[in-house]
Subunit: 340 residues, 3 copies
């Protein structure tokens, strides 16, 4: 990435800090236009700054200009990150099945359980108290945080991060209603595949289906407390924000972005690049590239317009009542008008 | 269950598979009309098929006709299910209180904690890293998955399944606002009863009340990430889809069905057989058999009609504006009209 | 707190029970007007009763009159609470780093992991299977329930309760989109501070930011399955009901009350004392003391009025159609009217 330096290139940077908290020795960054005015008063020694429209902001420290301040920031944070990697090896306090395979350089924490026939890739870190079921396969360079549960036969690719409390491979919610009103469980014995470079946030849940598979495509990033139901297929590079729920058998295309608390009904297909604003409810399939909002979801532009009218509905109702009154008066008046 | 076979009854079936993924040796099933057309091209050896209206679909494999394809499918999946039951016995790596009772044939995994005076029924499976509090009672033939937490004195019936990360018996959210604005905790020491044949999905939470009990009725099935607050009574055979939230002291009747992300406000009563579509918000009690949608919830039919109009609101507003203009013109015209 | 006794002050109370379940020897309470009529038939020996408007209710047991029945109830429940405190000391089945500090009278349960350099305050209870990361600091008199995960360097004050499965300090959801459509992780190494007297419900998640801190103010109470994203600042005495989601970098004022399933978009500021009804979606900042509802959120009063009209929209549309028809008839009639 290319950055242009403006100002004193000789400052010592010891930390990365938020613009309003930064002090001498700190590098800060401003990507969001609403924080630009804080640069006039920051005490930071340097700032990463995206190219902005209009006048250049007033800054009293060294400036690193870049087209992509978020990526520059990511790299800066990485540079100053505290070391935190646990030592390689299998904790004597873990319970690893005798036929499980643990790759070179992997770290298995205390009170971790690894079931029969499971395989953990090279350099993968399994934090304390994780449970990995029989026959599960986890790739290289993964990080599995504490309290996660990876059920039997789940397959996880390389460079996957599961945060604390994530559940992968729990039973899908599948029942067949019986004539007496009870619900017969449809056993859920299908597969779950998490492809490479996926990240899943704390306490999110990914169910397994009765047959076939649930699949999360490569590079997809899932936030906390998200539900992915049985038999869902999620494409590549998808972003699911916190508390999103995807019901059974949905097919989510590549590069889809769903904001927080969005719900998608079962058997729905979202085309590539579909976007939905927070709390949208999507009962029907959506074509490639559509941007939807509301419940039930409609095109975002239409929803903006409808929402604006919703706020004015009491006034609109009054206008209609007034029209009715005026019209009645006119009709009465006209009844007295001489007819030709 | 009765099935009629059509075609070659002599095929060998080795697996159950989805209709578009099935190959030779696979049994598949079609219950949902939208997948019927895939039968023309499936490579499955046999299919379970519900009776459909209209022409019988074109199928090139053996067909098992049934009135209840979901139940037949459930039975087929069970037949081909992998064996997965852990061996009976108490893991030497668990921590079971000396006065806890563990039934015959039960299986207690590593790093499980069972508190004083707790009782685990016959043949119940407690997977690794589960914590069961003092005085809790779990019935026969239950399956408690990893990372679940069953708090002190919780009572669980027979044939109950709790998925990974479920919490039963955490404190209800009860506070008394003080004059200085702080919140005094109301201690939550009531009971939680989970009746027979209940299933609770991954990372769902069931709170205990201050006094009295929280109760989940027999045969109720709860999906992932569902919240059931303190003092709630849920009837029998209820279905709560993922991310539903039931606030404190609600009474939910038998056979209620709430779709994903529905919210029910506190002290609300839902009658028997009430249904609500996804994301519905229910602030007030609902009578037996009602089907509701929207926020605030209204009868589903009314909501469908209102939602249709919401989408057309910008057009409706224009129509009102046009009416006002035309009426004004008429009024002006009429003002010049000779009065009788 | 002052209570006035009416009736027999000599009854023996052995339990606190709900008004419709109470029997002889039970103390019950009625704070909610909708339960007052049950007092005529309760078999309780005594009742805590708030001062109500109108006629005093008919009661056939001793009555404790008070201005603040919830607080009196809280105190009564505390009096009759079962003893449940685990013994002080460090379980030999835990894994506590050699340089971790555990305060006097603290209780560390089995299969607890405490990382290097962590510190646990005096009398704090850490229930079984909790994981506490390196360098984390937990204050005095806290209760950390089973399956919770407190990540590295998290700071927790005194008298904090974390319920089962809570995650504090997981990575914020921060990625920088690259030109090839992939998402570069922004490392999340910031701090999380939970101030004194905070309570966090089961399976809720509190993320850490890339830089700076996530902070939960003193006395704030958070219900189950709540998401607090990276870099959020929550004020003092805030109440967040179940399944609320607060997106990144929000600033939530003191004494804010958000009902269940409310969502707040990122970078939003909620002023002191803001309230929102269940399922409200808040895309923009809200001033001190505002009470909002709906999605997008508007003032509660306006939302009540708009919601009422939404239900009548099909009727309103018919009225507009009828107006159009009548107006057209009038226009035709008037066209035949002799012009002056």
């Amino acid at each position: 990435m290319q950055c242009n330096l403006e100002g004193d290139g000789d400052v010592d940077i010891v930390r990365v800090a938020a613009v309003h908290k930064a002090g001498p020795g700190d590098l800060t960054f401003v990507a969001n236009a609403r924080y630009v005015q804080k640069l006039a008063t920051t005490r930071a020694s340097a700032v990463i700054l995206g190219r902005t429209k209009g006048d250049p902001p007033r800054v009293n420290c060294a400036v690193l200009h870049t087209d992509d301040p978020y990526s520059a920031f990511a790299q800066a944070v990485t540079l100053f990150a505290p070391e935190g990697r646990p030592a390689a090896g299998i904790s004597p306090l873990s319970d690893v099945a005798i036929d499980a395979v643990v790759g070179a350089g992997a770290s298995i924490g205390p009170f971790v359980v690894i079931g029969e026939g499971a395989a953990i890739g090279a350099r993968t870190i399994v934090h304390p108290n994780v449970v990995i079921g029989a026959g599960a396969r986890i790739g290289d360079d993964c990080v599995i945080h504490s309290q996660a549960s990876i059920r039997e036969r789940v397959v996880i690719g390389d460079r996957v991060t599961l945060h604390d409390g994530v559940v992968v491979g729990s039973d899908g919610y599948g029942f067949a209603r019986q004539k007496d009103g009870t619900h017969l469980k449809i056993p859920q014995h299908g597969d779950v595949v998490i492809e490479d470079d996926v990240e899943i946030g704390a306490n999110s849940t990914i169910d397994r289906p009765a047959i076939g598979e649930t699949r999360i495509g490569a590079g997809t990033k899932i936030d906390n407390l998200v539900q992915v139901a049985h038999g869902v297929t999620i494409g590549r590079r998808v972003l699911l924000a916190a508390q999103v729920g995807i019901a059974g058998s949905c097919v989510i295309g590549d590069d889809v972005v769903l904001a927080g608390q969005v719900g998608v009904a079962n058997h729905v297909r979202l085309g590539n690049g579909v976007m939905a604003t927070a709390q949208t409810g999507i009962p029907n399939s959506v074509d490639d590239g559509e941007y939807v909002s509301g419940y039930p979801a409609i095109p975002h532009r239409d929803w903006l317009k409808s929402s604006a009218v919703v706020r004015q509905l009491p006034a609109l109702r009054k206008r209609v009542a007034l029209l009715e009154q005026r019209l009645e008066e006119l009709e009465e008046k006209l009844a007295r008008c001489p007819t030709p």
